[in-house]
Point group: C2
Chain length 438, copies 2
């Protein structure tokens, strides 16, 4: 059979991985795809020396490649939402299938791109955009296709997970763990994008779009980073039976869909609590399957390239599907997407650390303020043994885990707690997920 | 569009789950599949009263249903390899797609069934045959399709995992944990099939066939059950940092493919060690992705039905693939499947428990016998604190974990150890997997 001729845009680490896998696993891939898959042309803004193009021709004109009738499919691995976006549009408008790992562009322009793809009957696939080598998008759109997905939660930023793992394993503070991540190449010189949750929000946007038919609602994602997590909170969380993980969470309710990225206490016996270092995992709760979990390398040249090539194999054998065919859930308006629930309307359990003077009655006063707002206490370290720097002061932290409570009620309660004369520092609050009902 | 008309064979719990999911998620499934999916006919040896057929007609003639031109796809959920096998053959020979959850029939007759399917261009899909609601076959054949899979290891029998979890959590012996599983409906009155590893061997056969292109080699699976695992071994394993799990393991080597089901010590920090109760998980090591893991409910009406319906959705949208297109790996003979490696040629680390007289020099004598055969000791509990019944005797167990060593060498060494006058009971050996290289 005729080989599938691939035009590859970009020559970064993932693109190099694609060239490597297609070369070394060529026979295996041809058998699975029903025909050979060959990169015939590569386009990049510049040719870096020393890269083996495995026989492909090279140019610097990305848009020309996107429209070239001599290629059957475009792989877009440039990144960003400028030229990359234009290139994807051009290929799809020419009726050419596109495979992309560009999470930023898809999170922001996924609706438009899928609409163009549908209009021109050109598959648009992007398994590599979320969680690297884990086939999570395929699992959502195919393996779990019979399910009404209720919620999903994922460790989908390897940099944040590496930093939190370092803080947990070695008692380091955020700055030291970040420096270690930078030294090992797991964090950028400017780590904002990863540690403040923007990268995870991109991926969560894509997961939710495929799971719920929300459309791509990047603007609707509530995002909190990990830079204010302290070793003290990690230690108290451990004593209460939790690990702190940076999670992306999407959950349906009658009001719409919640989308949020934030540090989260996870029970230490839960599988997500045991996903460490740069590894990723996504928990999906479907109405038929119950909880399922998908784990693997979330980034890296070969894992991400594995996802790109698996999409190419679907294109080669003609079995790609329309990723825009996710069902609208019942609460959605006719023909439209369900609302994104504002974070103030979300419900969550909370870990609270309240720096207080070490004198009688403080815990009772705090408990009363919570109780007056119908916030129940799930567990507490009353007069927690102070650790680290706090032990040198005449105050102790009160550490409490609440039962689930609406966000706005917690805000109100914490304003009242913060105003107590016994409270001598900023109250820390971190959300808690028990995953009891998935 | 025309609905996909499903003929459903069988009316057991999974079949009832299929009827339920297709009914309650009908709109969602039609959107994902591109057309409605409707069970129009049901056939079973007898109609049990009280089952809602959701409007389907009923008959007792399975073979007639398989050949009926009024159905577009046959779902086979009868089980066994008698009439079920005949029914599948009949439908495929009529060019009709078949979706099955019949692991026993597929493990034993998968080559034949896939050959008929290919000959008649009829998709043959069986996601429900392995690990219930976990989309593991789809992940192997689609999401990981770019990978040369090196190995896989799975907790693929929920009954065994439930029993071992009970023994580990509550210190119960095998008989008590089995009785509890039977009381809760997780184990049959005759539990042989599950606890002796036959069910896991069926599933491992299917996983390996799709991952490696070995063909379906059920006869080549080495199988050891869990009925001889004791609370003592579980406790010593814990002290050494391991959990005991019943694993199905498939691994490629230059000699061919190893297929084995047996109790295994797994490091307690590994995700597989934290898969408890009736849950299943499969670890897959690909050359591009590295380790990935898939977790979820391994059985049950709705999880297994979710897998059946996801296969039906592939059939409905025309995107099903040929599961027989797994690549032959490089060591395979031309046009043939790679050899199955005999268990005697396999290599594994071992946990050894050696009941010995409590006198000086015994450990040294054992260590010498191992050393003479170039078996290195990874860790040991020398003069392990005796637990349970053993503490009443004048002997103590020597507990050793070896480094990886060929099976036949271990056999030879254990013959020598067993013959020592200091050794006063049967030496126990259980394999150990570190998953260091996947």
């Amino acid at each position: 059979m005729q080989p599938l001729r691939v035009g590859l845009c970009g020559l970064g680490t993932v693109a190099q991985g694609v060239l490597e896998i297609l070369s070394r696993n060529a026979a295996l891939i041809a058998r699975r795809a029903g025909r050979p898959i060959v990169v015939t042309q590569v386009a990049s803004r510049r040719l870096r020396p020393g890269i083996d193009l495995h026989g492909a021709s090279f140019s610097t004109d990305l848009l020309k490649l996107a429209r070239d009738p001599e290629i059957d499919v475009l792989v877009e691995l440039i990144g960003g939402d400028g030229l990359a976006l234009e290139t994807m549009r051009a290929a799809l408008e020419a009726g050419k299938p596109v495979v992309s790992g560009n999470k930023a562009a898809i999170a922001r322009h996924g609706d438009e791109l899928l609409a163009i793809a549908r209009q021109h009957a050109a598959p648009f696939l992007f398994e590599a955009a979320v969680a690297g080598g884990i086939p999570i998008l395929g699992s959502l759109t195919r393996g779990l296709a019979a399910n009404d997905v209720r919620s999903l939660a994922g460790i989908i930023n390897g940099t944040s997970n590496f930093i939190l793992t370092g803080m947990s394993d070695r008692g380091e503070d955020f700055a030291s763990a970040l420096a270690e991540a930078q030294r090992l190449g797991y964090a950028e010189a400017d780590p904002t994008f990863d540690v403040e949750g923007v990268d995870a929000a991109h991926k969560l946007t894509i997961l939710a779009a495929l799971a719920f038919g929300t459309g791509f609602r990047f603007e609707g994602v509530y995002t909190e980073g990990i830079s204010r997590i302290t070793p003290e909170d990690i230690e108290y969380a451990k004593r209460l039976g939790y690990r702190i993980k940076q999670l992306g969470i999407a959950r349906r309710s009658s009001a719409g869909v919640e989308l949020r990225v934030h540090p989260t206490l996870v029970p230490d016996t839960h599988l997500l609590a045991n996903v460490n270092g740069v590894m990723n995992a996504v928990l999906v709760n479907g109405d038929a399957t119950g909880s399922t979990l998908y784990y693997g390398a979330g980034a890296g040249s070969l894992p991400s390239a594995s996802a790109v090539v698996s999409d190419l194999i679907e294109v080669a054998r003609g079995t790609a599907i329309d990723c825009g065919a996710a069902p609208r859930h019942e609460g959605a308006p006719e023909g439209g997407a369900p609302a994104t629930v504002p974070i103030a309307d979300s419900v969550s359990a909370y870990y609270l650390r309240i720096p207080s003077l070490d004198r009688p009655g403080v815990f009772a006063r705090v408990a009363t303020l919570l109780s007056e707002r119908e916030i129940s206490i799930e567990s507490a370290l009353q007069r927690a043994q102070a650790i680290h720097a706090e032990s040198q002061n005449a105050w102790v932290p009160i550490v409490i885990v609440t039962q689930p409570v609406p966000e706005r009620v917690v805000h109100d309660a914490l304003d009242a707690v913060q105003a107590l004369p016994d409270v001598v520092g900023d109250v820390v609050r971190i959300r808690v997920e028990e995953f009891g009902d998935g």
